[in-house]
Structure formats: C-alpha cells, structure tokens
C-alpha cells in the first residue's frame, strides 16, 4: 500500500484509563492502516476496545501512546481547537443513537457542520438538500428528528457526516438501534457510499454489516487479533 493512498495510519496505539488504583489498558498497541476507498469493519466482544479505538482514530480522544495520521497529518498532538477544526473538515461521525439536534430540521442538521466551516448559506442549503436526496430523504428535509423514524434519523446523521466531504467516515454501531429491515437498508446505503468513493471505518456487532465490509478487523482485550480482507 503506498503512502499516498493511505487515509488512515495508526501505529502502536495505547489507551489507559485510571480506574481506582490499577489502570485499565483499553488498547494495548493497536496498529491499523486504511486506504482511500476502503470499507473496514472492526468487530469484537463488548469491552474489547473497539469504540476506544474509533475515538482515537476520530481525534475525539488522545492516545496514551502511539500515533494517528489521517491523510498524513498527525492528529494525536493537535490542540483541542485544532482537533475540532480537523474533525470538522476531514472526519465524518455516525453514532449508534443518531444524536441529531432535536430542535433543528433534517436540513438544518445537515447544514450545521457546513455553517461552522463557513460555507455560504445558499451553497450549504443546496448541498444539504443534495445529501438528503442522496440518502432518500429529500421529501423530509423540513421535518424535525421527532417526526422521523429511527432509520430516517440515521440517514440524516449520515448526510450530516458527509456534509464537509470528509476523508474518512467513522461509524459507531450505526445499526445498533435499528430493526433488521431498516438495518439492511442502512447496510445497502453504506455499500453505495463506499462504491461512490467514501472511505468507511465502522465499529459493529452486526454480522450483516461487518459482512458487507471489504475488510474485517477482529479485536480482543485491546489487541487486533485478525485483519481479514473479504473482497
């Protein structure tokens, strides 16, 4: 894999938490490389460190040791303000619980990161509608989250994550709160996203979602135990 095609390069990541007298070693030297256009599923039992790894890859937490580079930029040493700006422009997040702003409409939720990035009002409105169209919710643009189903909310969350054209889409159990049918629709959406060039790293317990990925990374007790390319 050439350096230029690498979107993500994490090396020897460690994360310890202080819990009482003895620290918890959530991650114990994890290394991971993700190429542009890849679709990686990270799986493993609860407490194995998947979400901790995702937080470090997304620069919302700092490793105790190790480095994370996204598009060649080391993110572990960024200041809080720099990390925030970096996330805004280069990383998209999708959470298990959708976490949309309940008082904003679907369109306004998608516009939020663009507004923060300084995109002009007309341009961000057009892009928000384009993204909602992409996830099949053009007709629900002016609805608030409480007026949308779980699947629809997650689609809005995906549109929001793509708003600033991120280099990397990080998803934490994106089908965790959805029924099987809606989950399947979501899996199809991720496949389409990846086919259209989006690099995706997803943490999941959902075997169907993991099965749809091009690569599956198994974790256990803070270690990567296998890394398998399925397609």
């Amino acid at each position: 894999m050439t350096g230029s095609s690498l979107v993500l390069h994490a090396r020897d990541l460690r994360r310890d938490y202080a819990m009482g007298e003895s620290p918890v070693h959530a991650l114990q030297g994890v290394s991971l490389e993700v190429a542009s256009g890849d679709y990686v599923a990270i799986v493993g039992p609860s407490g194995c460190g998947k979400s901790t790894l995702l937080n470090l890859l997304g620069a919302i937490d700092r490793p105790t040791a190790g480095t994370v580079q996204i598009r060649g930029r080391g993110v572990e040493s960024l200041s809080d303000a720099e990390a925030t700006r970096f996330r805004l422009l280069h990383i998209g997040f999708v959470f298990q619980r959708f976490y949309l702003m309940p008082a904003l409409t679907a369109r306004e939720n998608v516009e939020l990161p663009m507004a923060e990035a300084g995109v002009a009002r007309a341009e961000r409105r057009a892009r928000a509608l384009e993204l909602l169209d992409y996830v099949g919710l053009r007709g629900r643009a002016e609805h608030r989250p409480t007026q949308l189903s779980g699947g629809e909310q997650q689609r809005v969350a995906i549109a929001r994550a793509l708003a600033n054209r991120p280099a990397l889409l990080l998803c934490d159990e994106p089908t965790g709160e959805l029924d099987a049918h809606t989950g399947a629709e979501m899996i199809a959406l991720f496949e389409r996203l990846n086919a259209d060039g989006t690099t995706i790293v997803v943490v999941t317990h959902d075997e169907d979602l993991a099965g749809a990925a091009r690569r599956v990374v198994h974790m256990r007790d803070g270690h990567v135990v296998s890394d398998t390319r399925t397609r």
């Binding site: 937080n55 997304g58 919302i60 925030t84 996330r87 998209g92 939020l112 923060e116």
Partner: protein
C-alpha cells in the same frame, strides 16, 4: 445558524423559557423601580426648584423657606438692595399666611400667598388672569371645589380671629380672577394668591413691609455661588439657599432612603442573575450528549460558549424589556400612593423615569445575563467528548 440553535433551544422548552423570562421581567421591574426611586425624588425636587428659573432663595436667618412663620422686615429695602446687583435679574418676594374664607355662616381656612404677579414663581395660571388689582386673587382648584365658588365670584376673607370678641378681624372682599396650579403646594391644598401688598395689609404686624421668602433669578452665566455669598453679606438677616445647597440638604435627608433602594435593587439583580444562571445550567446539563456530539462533529467550543451565553443574554434582554414596561406601570401606581402623603408638593415624584435609569437597569441586567451564561457555557465547552458520549450511550 447560531441564532437558529438558540431560537430552537427556547422553542423546545417553551414553558420553562416563558417562566424564566417572566421571572427576569419581575426582577427587572423591581430593579428599574429601585433605580428610579433612588434618583427620582432628587431629580423631581431639583426640577421643581428650577421650574421657574429661580436659583436662589432667601429665608429668615437660620430657617428654610416656609419652615417657620418668621419673616424678613423692610421688604422694599431688601428688594432694592438685591436689584442693585447686576447678576440678579429678578427678585420675587413672597409672604405666606392663613386666611379665613366666609361662606355664609361657615368659614374655611386656606393658605394665602402674597406675591408680585409680574415676577412670581409660585404658580402656573390655568385659567383666568393674574391678580393685578389689590382685591384680586387666584385660587387653586381644590379651593374652588371646597367653596363651590367660580372665577369672577366675590368672596369675603378675614385674616384673623379675635377669641375674646369671637369675631373675625381684617375682613376684605376679594374677587377670584383665575385658577392656578401652585408648584410647591400639595395637590389637594386650598391656596389663594394675591398681590403681596394686599396680604401685608390684611395680616396685622408691627412692620407690615415684610416677606417670608425672596426668590432670586440669576443672570445666565453668572456664578450662582458667588451671588449667594454676596446676598448673605448684603442681607445679613437672611440665609441664602442655592439650588445646589438645597440638593445637598436633600441628599443628606434621603441617604437612608437611597441606601434602601440600592440594597433592594442589588437583591433583584442577584435574583435575576441566579434565575438565568440556574436555568441555563439546567438546560446545558440536559444537553450534555448533544453538546458532546456537536463538539465531536467539529463545532468549536467557541460556538458552544457563544450559544449558551446568547441563551442567557436573550432571556435577560427579553425579560428586561418586559420588565421595563412592568416597572413603569408599577412605578406609576406606587408613585400615586406615595405622592398622596399629606404635605408633599404635587410636583414631587418618587419614581421619575429618566432614560439614563432605564439604560442603567438594562445594562446591569445585560451584563448579569452574560455573566449568568459563563459557567454553564464553560461547562459545556470543556466536556470530555469521548467520556460524555460513552456515559450518554450507557445512560
């Protein structure tokens, strides 16, 4: 987008926002009333003293105007002396006394002022004409209400009552020529005013040429304090009181009153601050997950701080605007009650609205609104994102 978020946050918690705004409005109204109270009496007293442009008042030595029945003799000589100073452009002598009005078998007491109509500074004529003839007098509306007389009517008045003879003395017939509003008298006072020579003649005294008070108008640009010192030297039997001296005396007498207003105003400000601070803190605590997600997707802590501070400030501003209206209504009501205290001049207002007061109250509330948002804003902006999201997921 920031304003959209703030609006949306209020919309989401309408009842709570409404209650908070109402609470701030009550607090702001109290603050405004206290600010108006602390400066209102002073401002209205000053405005009353200067209503007719007389900056100096001359009372018998050691007394305040109309504080006692003492008078200054040789009025004509005093007027001539004062008029000799080119810095004094008008001298208005006033004699105070009491008259009995004869209404058939009944009689009614009234305050009487003797003055020089051409330079008087005691009343504003509301109807009719000034009392230029020796048997003419203008009267207050309460006088007409009590006597059922009208402008143009003739009335018998007496200056004294002989207890041994059981008879009224010094009776004269006077004609009512006008209705006047007396600036320094209570609104319900029965007052008559006539040429000073007429009143001097009515009320017996060893030296009829006398006055209770001289009001002096000073030339524009002249140093009032310098003129005051000159007057005290020229008329050693009198005490000259400038408007500024009177204001200092008033300040001394109102010190406790103003301290009370200051304390109550401060309490209302603190209550408003605590109210908004509590509301915004609760609101932020309820939205920790949302804020953590905002931070995770790249919303700067500066934006989060601005949003929270704006929420607090918006509640304060809207509440203050409503409080301004509420404060004016309550001030008007309270002023009506306090102004009806017996003996107070009608021109004295306890609560006087001055734009400066409103700006002070609004400014204080605005600053406290910003301050009220600072702690919750800091709390929201400094959240550990990963930990908060994990706790939210577990919760």
């Amino acid at each position: 987008m920031l304003l959209t978020l703030v609006r949306a946050s209020f919309r989401r918690r309408r009842t709570r926002t409404l209650l908070a705004v109402t609470g701030v409005a009550v607090s702001a109204a109290l603050l405004l009333d206290m600010v108006m109270l602390s400066s209102g009496m002073r401002a209205s007293f000053r405005s009353m003293l200067l209503a007719r442009g007389f900056e100096l008042r001359l009372a018998p030595r050691g007394t305040l105007p109309f504080d006692t029945e003492a008078t200054i003799d040789s009025m004509s000589a005093v007027v001539r002396t004062l008029q000799a100073n080119p810095d004094i452009v008008a001298v208005s002598p006033v004699l105070g006394g009491q008259l009995h009005v004869l209404l058939g078998d009944a009689r009614l007491s009234t305050v009487a002022l003797g003055l020089v109509p051409a330079v008087e500074g005691d009343y504003e004529l509301r109807a009719g004409r000034n009392p230029c003839a020796s048997d003419a007098m203008v009267v207050s509306q309460p006088f007409l209400d009590a006597t059922h007389l009208h402008v143009g009517d003739t009335v018998r008045v007496a200056a004294g009552y002989d207890t041994q003879m059981r008879a009224l003395t010094g009776q004269h017939t006077m004609v009512i020529t006008g209705i006047a509003h007396f600036l320094y008298m209570p609104a319900d006072a029965r007052v008559v005013a006539m040429p000073i020579a007429s009143l001097q003649a009515m009320i017996p005294a060893p030296n009829p040429d006398r006055a209770s008070l001289f009001m002096l108008r000073v030339r524009k640009g002249a140093d009032v304090e310098q003129v005051r010192r000159w007057v005290e030297r020229a008329v050693p039997r009198a005490t000259a009181i400038s408007t500024e001296t009177a204001m200092q005396q008033l300040d001394d007498r109102l010190r406790y009153f103003r301290q009370l207003a200051f304390i109550l105003g401060s309490v209302s400000l603190v209550v408003g601050f605590l109210l908004v601070s509590t509301l915004v803190t609760v609101s932020v605590n309820e939205r920790l997950g949302e804020i953590a997600v905002m931070r995770a997707i790249g919303i700067a802590s500066r934006t989060v701080i601005l949003q929270v501070v704006l929420e607090g400030t918006a509640i304060m501003i809207v509440g203050s605007a409503l409080g301004l209206a509420l404060g004016l209504v309550t001030a008007r009501y309270l002023n009506g009650i306090l102004s009806s205290f017996p003996g107070l001049p009608a021109a004295i207002d306890f609560f006087l609205f001055q734009p400066r007061d409103a700006w002070i109250a609004l400014g204080l509330l605005g600053v406290s609104g910003i301050a009220a948002g600072i702690y919750p804003a800091w709390r929201g902006a400094s959240l550990p994102i990963a930990t908060t999201l994990r706790e939210e997921a577990v919760g």
